[in-house]
Symmetry: C2
Subunit: 408 residues, 2 copies
Amino acid sequence: MKKNMLIGQSGGPTAVINGSLYGAIKEALASKNQIASIYGMVNGIEGFLNNQYIALADLEDTNDLELLRTTPGAYLGSCRYKLPEDLNHKIFKTLFEKFEALNIGYFFYIGGNDSMDTVSKLSRYANEVASDIRFIGIPKTIDNDLVLTDHTPGFGSAAKYVATVVREIVIDASVYDNKTSVTIVEIMGRHAGWLTAASALARRFEGDNPVLIYLPEAPFQVEDFLAKVKQGLKSTPNLVICISEGINDGQGTFVCEYEGAVNVDAFGHKMLTGSGKYLENLIKEKLGIKVRSVELNVMQRCSSLHLSATDLKEAINSGVFAVQVALRGESGKMITFNRHHNNPYELTYGIADVDLICNEEKAVPANWITKEGSDISHEFIEYAKPLIDGEVTLPRDGGLPLFTYRKH
Amino acid sequence: MKKNMLIGQSGGPTAVINGSLYGAIKEALASKNQIASIYGMVNGIEGFLNNQYIALADLEDTNDLELLRTTPGAYLGSCRYKLPEDLNHKIFKTLFEKFEALNIGYFFYIGGNDSMDTVSKLSRYANEVASDIRFIGIPKTIDNDLVLTDHTPGFGSAAKYVATVVREIVIDASVYDNKTSVTIVEIMGRHAGWLTAASALARRFEGDNPVLIYLPEAPFQVEDFLAKVKQGLKSTPNLVICISEGINDGQGTFVCEYEGAVNVDAFGHKMLTGSGKYLENLIKEKLGIKVRSVELNVMQRCSSLHLSATDLKEAINSGVFAVQVALRGESGKMITFNRHHNNPYELTYGIADVDLICNEEKAVPANWITKEGSDISHEFIEYAKPLIDGEVTLPRDGGLPLFTYRKH
């Protein structure tokens, strides 16, 4: 008997999360002998609990499916919603009743480590109640912090944004090159510095800007930082420094907490703002030179013009592969990437137990962080280069990219 | 007797200021029977006063001239330097001695209204001392605030950046569309709101985000603003608001001054930051809803990926035309744009007295600002649309744009 498929998006958006949705829909449409209807959860599992879902198959009859491929954000809407730890909680029974009512056989969730927690709990509950619904996680995060996979869809395009825009900011910061200045670029990354490390790709030669790069993985020391800024200005009058939003003292205190209070989100994460602003004021106060800070903000995760062709292709293939492994009977797995060669770049897709992935964070290896925490090694450059490669041609109308939007 | 040419860049950088430099160099190279050597002032007139200049003709022998075409920033370096008001000041005599020593016959300055002040003073001094050096201004500013010209090079690409990125931010801001939120986007523009107005191009239909747009030209009223935010949230749960950095109360007080002190730059401009942050805190305090502010910061003026083909072509042609009018004997003029048709878009180049342009600012017309200062009329859309049209293919290496850099 044919079953239906349910797919959702969860966590922060990326430039290619809809690429994975596109891939999964395409593969499901190509598997009509096994998959009857394709449903999308609206606002992830949280929306689905409130009966928010839509049919997705009609997208095929319009141009919208092709537009979906290059539309940033989360077409289905997203959520930050954590299922209870206790599998006996009534919410699981409710969810599975809803799944049964819709004749769901295949469940896909595109997200990061918090979203994989949802896949893990649902597949464990399915085991307990002997449900044959298959639960597959499709990785997504600009943070690149999922374990058991070489990298994650979303990272390549965000890394390409960071490398490109930092290269442009370096040019912008150097126009008054007869004067001394410092520019601090704050990049997303609470605990993992992968995306900030990508700023090293902006360099054209050894010692080029950004001269200093700070990740959350290495303890940040204010005195050492100021000394390196003074030193850096001797060779580079318009110094550019890239920092992760989550730089910290190594003892659990974020730099942006040095001055004020901090909020906590639904997953217990500290909500950060202002490490760049803090360091800007510090340099102004201690060194008395011209300084500005720039936040790459949400632009780094939603830029269609900075799509990496490699990243988009891999995101689409993750969606395709997820449907394939579900159809062959897998459950409780996340799609993983295995890199075989850097040059030429060669990748195959695999699966890993989602229980081993959720709630874990993959840090940048300690030996890839150099110069007592202020630089990135050549190994990272070799790792990241293939992931930002290739350009994507966008559908356009009058100079602006064309996107697709869910009907409300 | 053949004369030499001297060219410089001044004021804030743009994505196409090097396009104009490229155009002028190309035309000078094509006019070798009249122009002997091409010199570039390093850091504008300020650097030239310190004998900082370089020969530019050798660029022809390398790939650098072609790379210059699409390199953002200011290849020659820029300055913010105001010549004295008193033409009897010894600095003018010094400058003209330097011009004579280099056998300069043609002087070009690429910049905005402050830079045109330099062209005006030098050409007036030339008249007084009966020098035959010709002084021509090439317009450049993302602010689009020069008078006597339909628009200025630099605006189209910055407007394309704003329209594209605001469209993407709207998507990013709408992923949790089962929750209410406000996103404030702060756009450059101290006194003129042209660039902020370009955010209206991001809309796909009447009433689409950004729902509210505020320019410096209309007085900003806090109570009215809060009422409109509350009203807007009824139809648009994820409300996006675009504001100029220079929004003010209409009495000379900037919104960002409501809370703190302010600096003044070399030209006597107030240095602004934080109107977006101010309104973010205001909404949090008064309405208690989720709110974030995003600064487009320097990215809006240096993005190569958002180059408008129309803007780049016009920037190049401005440089070409400047050399042509200098060779035919004009001086004390700035290149201007005359638009004849919108659809199909048709433009011719002209000249106007630089004395009438410098230190003037062209505001967005009052009748293009609608809904008591919170929206932009259709006339602006028709005006701006052709200026953001067309894509530019960038030279690339490994996924990143390739730029050229002045040798130090």
